[in-house]
Amino acid sequence: MRVFCYNRFMNLPWRLAFRRVGEMALIVAIGGAFGLAANRIAKKPLPLWTPLPDRQEQREPLAQVVKDLPRSSLPTVDCDTLRQLRDDPSTLVLDARLDAAYRQGHIPGAVSLPVVEFFVKFADLRARIAAAGLVIVYCIDPACPDGRSLGDLLQAQGIRKVMLFDGGIEEWRRRGYELAVE
């Protein structure tokens, strides 16, 4: 009886299935080992069991940089004036919020330049910003400091014609104007 059951079991496809699962587990183990080894020898290894730092935490060093900048004048613009200026092709509107917020809804024609990623993304946008006749930056609302921070950073880079739309996306939304979604 035992021999009968053993023979029936070993003839079933289960044996093949177990073998396949074992081989798949081996491939995953080998690949995973390579990945962890590569992380260990990397110049900037990713901490394994630690959640990625929140954007808010990354903002602190940037806040120090902005605080040390000379506070040059940053004129503000209201919503109606922004709507008129936006039609001018030489005006560039920059969104200082995080990328995810930008994609979920932004002022039509605005370009995303998150203030927390300024030093990474400014290089790509430098030519376009320098060519603009006027740059208008905005954030969420008057309480959000990112718009002013972005304006100050741009001025520190030599971009003089910068204005701040103080009301932010919340005022734009409140007025019922259309939002662009990526």
Binding site: R20, L26, G31, G32, F34, G35, A38, N39, L46, R103
Partner: protein, 155 residues
């Protein structure tokens, strides 16, 4: 009509066609994992944006997944544990399809991270269509890619 089907199936079973499918699928996965291996933090941020994994598991997943893809693709191409590698790649494609579908239903705009970690939000329907094509390739291999020693015997 049935005559055309059998011709198609006969063509699909040809060793050279199966080999071409194998090289295409393997090449796709090798290409796909290159940027992810080079930029693990960028890929980890994309994985985090999917909001499907606990935050603590995101770095481990982002570090190991590209290497698992690479290992499986190379195994499939060189013929080591080929069937298992094809099964694994098929499973990965199903997981990717599920992840993209969940975020489509949620209405999130997200970057796929499939081939590059620096891209912006992509059209999710194009992503789904592309992954389905890859899954068809994998299904082709599952159906007809057997090595000499693995060919199922007729009893």
């Amino acid at each position: 009509m049935s005559w055309q089907w059998s011709e198609t199936i006969a063509w699909l079973r040809r060793p050279r066609v199966v080999m071409l499918s194998r090289w295409v699928l393997g090449g796709i996965f090798v290409w796909a994992c290159a940027d992810k291996i080079a930029h693990p933090e960028g890929f980890a941020r994309i994985v985090a944006e999917y909001r499907l994994l606990p935050a603590r598991l995101v770095p481990l997943f982002a570090l190991t997944l590209p290497w698992v893809e690479l290992t499986a693709a190379l195994c499939m191409l060189v013929g080591l544990f080929r069937r298992a590698a094809i099964w694994l790649l098929s499973l990965l494609l199903l997981v990717f399809l599920a992840a993209i579908s969940i975020n489509v239903v949620r209405g999130l705009a997200f970057s796929c991270g499939c081939f590059s970690v620096s891209g912006g939000a992509e059209n999710p329907w194009l992503l789904l269509g592309r992954d389905l094509l890859f899954l068809l390739l994998a299904a082709h291999l599952l159906a007809w890619d057997f090595s000499r020693h693995e060919k199922p015997s007729r009893r």
